[in-house]
């Protein structure tokens, strides 16, 4: 199928979602966070990975929503699920029990060791901005086999050190998972609207491995709050395919109509 004629006709947000979707393989079991991860995971299910198993923390197991949920517990998730279990069962048997290959998360802040902050900006006792908190993420990030993270690239989000480690990436020194028994691999890729990053195999510091078409190294450097490194063999992220964009837009249009109460 043609991609060339699409090159000018997608947004950076769509590029991010399509790239994040492609990270999921058919047959994977994925514990899905709400928002961008949910959008990407459902795009994957509707394109190259029809057999991907999507699990939401509300207890909905193997769900196939027709529209994207606004909340983690929308009725659509339950109605289209293979089965719905209680929330304690979800966290204890399915996540902690080791049945999840990938946790797919978003975040407010991320640092160079892929630690996530969704708790607050500033000091805990006198926060500048109070964020929602951990939710399922602290245990998703450690009990899932590996973790994908997707968020928009900006200096506010990509900081050298997060104000608070809500959810473990590799710890403040990159060694947070060393010697810990029964723990997943942690973040294996971070997908933004500019690039794809992976942790350095040795230091665990996030390193750009692929730039999206039309994005320069300077663009990424300027949008990152630390001196970001680039892989020696830097790749160019493949363009979105026409069918991926069409299916994504259909999904978003359906979702918008439903959430507007139409």
């Amino acid at each position: 199928m043609s991609t060339l004629d699409m090159s000018q006709e997608y947004t950076s947000a769509e590029m991010m979602t399509v790239t994040a979707a492609r990270a999921l393989e058919n047959g994977m079991t994925c514990f899905v966070g709400i928002g961008l991860p949910s959008e990407a995971a459902n795009l994957a299910r509707l394109t190259h990975a029809p057999g991907v198993v999507l699990i939401y923390e509300s207890g909905t197991l193997q769900t196939k929503p027709d529209v994207l949920p606004l909340s983690i517990g929308d009725g659509e998730l339950c109605e289209s699920a293979l089965t719905t279990v209680s929330v304690p069962e979800m966290f204890r048997y399915w996540l902690q029990g080791g049945k999840v290959n990938v946790g797919f998360l978003g975040t407010a802040q991320i640092d160079r060791f892929a630690n996530l902050n969704t708790t607050l900006i500033g000091d805990y006792q006198a926060p500048k901005v109070r964020l929602p908190g951990g939710g399922g993420a602290p245990e998703i990030a450690t009990n899932a086999g590996e973790v994908f993270i997707t968020l928009k690239h900006s200096k506010r989000a990509f900081v050298k050190d997060v104000d608070f480690v809500t959810t473990l990436g590799f710890g403040r020194d990159g060694k947070g998972r060393d010697g810990v028994p029964n723990i997943g691999k942690g973040p294996t890729r971070v997908i933004t609207d500019l690039c794809v990053m992976k942790p350095d195999p040795e230091t665990k510091e996030l390193t750009v491995v692929s730039l999206h078409p039309g994005v320069s190294r300077e663009d990424v450097t300027e949008a990152t709050g630390w001196e970001i490194r680039f892989a020696d063999e830097l790749e160019s992220t493949p363009l979105p395919a026409e069918h991926e964009l069409r299916i994504l837009r259909d999904l978003k249009n359906r979702t918008e109509r439903q959430h507007a109460g139409e």
Binding site: L70, G73, G75, F91, R130, N182
Partner: protein, 272 residues
């Protein structure tokens, strides 16, 4: 044995000032009508427990009913912040509240431990998280069999739990369907429990493995049609996603919020 009470009487009888109260429902079946009744009766100094405070606790906090909130994710799902929660935490309006925050896994386990009559819940959790540094109710213990370091949190044992469900039969047995969250655990973990239901039926028509809470495990059942709006009741009405979005603007401003509470909660009877 469940007693059929009006919502007013159930709240008046079982929710005392200073009580520890869990109003559960994971996005689904949130007992909004009961929360509004708590506001109308001007209950004070409550310790409110909920995994996801949602709009219901945003309203209770903004109305000044809470002194402490125990939670694991305090946002407006898919929309943004809970502005009343934030205003109370950041600026102490309308009063200072204490917060104790957990992860979902820990709270779910703590409700389950409460239902099981245990003093604590054990989980493989909080690894590398800084939450234990700001919440002294998160400890770590060593497994006596393997030596593995595991997280421990105290079980949740509310004075009162309030949940909403689809229906009760005439003996007060309650059927919960759809996303069942931690409602059953919340009811069984509490000293007292109130269940609001959409309707009373002769026969629950429940499958053998359905989530049924026996009437003898519940203190009060109150019929409240649409008692979960703007959240939803599976099989009865959908979530009012539009209201969840509109709430953002209402809750952002103290005066707009106070007016909304006056017009939509204080001036309404429970059956309005």
């Amino acid at each position: 044995m469940a007693e059929f009470l009006s919502l007013h009487d159930a709240i008046a009888q079982y929710v005392e000032d200073g009580a520890t109260v869990a109003m559960e429902g994971f996005t689904h079946l949130i007992p909004f009508a009961a929360g509004h009744e708590v506001i109308r009766q001007r209950k004070q100094d409550l310790t409110l427990i909920r995994m996801t405070p949602d709009l219901i606790y945003d309203q209770l906090i903004g109305a000044g009913c809470a002194k402490k909130v125990i939670f694991s994710w305090g946002g407006n799902p898919g929309v943004g912040s809970l502005h009343r929660l934030r205003d109370a935490v950041e600026k102490g309006w309308p009063r200072h509240i204490d917060i104790l925050e957990h992860s979902h896994a820990a709270m779910a386990c703590a409700f389950e431990a409460g239902a099981a009559g245990l003093p604590l819940a054990v989980l493989r959790g909080y690894v590398g998280s800084e939450l234990p540094s700001v919440n002294d109710q998160i400890k770590f213990i060593e497994c006596p069999f393997t030596g593995e370091r595991l997280a421990a949190v105290p079980s949740i044992r509310p004075d009162v739990s309030v949940v909403h469900a689809q229906k009760a039969d005439r003996a007060g047995n309650v059927l919960v369907e759809g996303i069942v969250g931690v409602q059953k655990e919340a009811v069984l973990a509490a000293t007292r429990s109130i269940v609001t239901v959409e309707e009373i039926v002769d026969d629950l028509d429940a499958h053998p493995n359905a989530c049924v809470i026996p009437g003898w495990a519940i203190d009060a059942v109150a019929v409240v049609e649409k008692g979960a709006l703007p959240s939803y009741t599976h099989g009865y009405y959908p979530r009012n996603n539009r209201f969840y979005k509109e709430w953002d603007a209402i809750a952002r401003d103290r005066d707009v919020f106070s007016r909304w509470i006056d017009e939509n909660v204080m001036n309404q009877r429970e059956d309005a």
